[in-house]
Amino acid sequence: MPSTRTWLQAGGGTVVVALIAAAVVQAVNSTAMWVSNDPVGECGATSGGAVVAAQNVLSASTGLAPVDGSWDDGSTVATEAFQAYNGLPVSGCVDSGTWTTMRALLVSVCDPEFDCRGPDHRVRYAGPEGVREAYFAENDCDWGSYVLPGVAGSPVASHTIIALSRDAVTEIECEG
């Protein structure tokens, strides 16, 4: 008959293993978020946090504005230009191949082994009229879009982190 101490040790161990497993699953999901996103645009969602993320990359890569989480004709044309330049099939739809291509453009502004808390990935393009850039946050909770002033349009507020995976435009606070 196992003693109370044994039960407590077993229970504690189980809790620790569960916490580790949850952390691993969370990290995997966070990393895979970009390639597992549902399509955006004419072929999928036309509003919400995923649209904000796609528009944020397109704002840096093509000059699309505003980033407001609502898909429009400008977003479609920007996606087509992005796809053509990157060798993707030109569909105007942000599908898995386009999501993956966008993800590859995100560069950490922070030491890979350190959590800088807040916006920690950046897309940067230099044009004749100045630098266009977009930021994202990958903390322990989720990927989020961080839109700069001058690009953000209502209901997307600048200098806030917008959840990528949510249906609606929702601000999140990652604790880091």
């Binding site: 400008g74 230009a81 053509a84 330049y85 590859a104 950490s108 922070c110 393009y125 266009r132 930021y135």
Partner: protein, 227 residues
């Protein structure tokens, strides 16, 4: 006795000769300026690519000593610049230092004319006629010994390449969209970890941006000549 002193006279032919000389000089200067304006600026390729960041906060950074011939200038951004651009408190001492190398030439120039919309002809957009300027981004994370998480996806290939000059191994991540798309090179050494990002872009006339072998050579040149 009366002495008549003739005042010096300006002879008309002197005036005519002087005016013609002045006119000829002006013509020569104007023609020289006009012809000179049409000639391309002499291309000054630095012997060592680190001269591109001379005088910036990245001057002493471990960085590429070789860049593709099309690179004419670079922009350095140090942690304080990046932190200010984010506009939100970040741990500045752990931010990387960025150098963006711009590629010259018509195929590498930005072609956007206004924002994306109906003014962009559909055929031109589909042909890759509307594209950003090509560049190579180099980021150095000093005191870091790790690489970013490996990317995954159906169109992603990840390979490790040995750098012949420096003896280091570099992780080459390609989003291979029919030969085009982003290319990431990431590696570490005894000082920190590094990233090079370029895009092989599809344009109506061929491709834009640095090639994969050029990116590998850039990476190899970071440590190879530092001694």
């Amino acid at each position: 006795m009366v002495t008549t002193i003739e005042e010096p006279r300006i002879r008309p032919e002197w005036l005519v000769g002087g005016a013609l000389t002045l006119l000829a000089a002006i013509v020569i200067i104007v023609v020289t300026l006009v012809v000179g304006a049409g000639e391309p600026e002499p291309v000054v390729v630095p012997a060592d690519a680190d001269e591109l960041t001379a005088g910036t906060c990245a001057a002493d950074l471990r960085q590429p000593h070789w860049v593709p011939d099309d690179v004419r200038h670079a922009v350095a951004e140090c942690p304080a610049d990046i932190s200010a651009g984010i506009g939100r408190t970040t741990a500045e001492d752990h931010l990387g230092t960025w150098i963006t190398y711009m590629l010259d030439g018509p195929e590498n120039a930005e072609t956007f004319r206004g924002g994306p919309g109906s003014a962009w002809p559909d055929g031109d957009v589909r042909a890759g006629d509307y594209h950003p300027a090509a560049s190579v981004v180099y980021v150095a994370y000093l005191d870091s010994a790790e690489l970013a998480d490996e990317l995954s996806g159906d169109n992603v290939t990840v390979e490790w390449e040995a750098l012949t000059e420096s003896g280091l191994d570099v992780r080459v991540t390609r989003v291979d969209n029919n030969g085009y798309g982003p290319v990431r090179l990431e590696w570490t050494d005894d000082v920190g970890s590094y990233l090079l990002l370029g895009t092989v872009g599809r344009t109506p006339t061929g491709s834009a941006g640095a090639t994969v072998p050029e990116l590998i050579r850039m990476a190899d040149s970071v440590a190879a000549e530092d001694e």
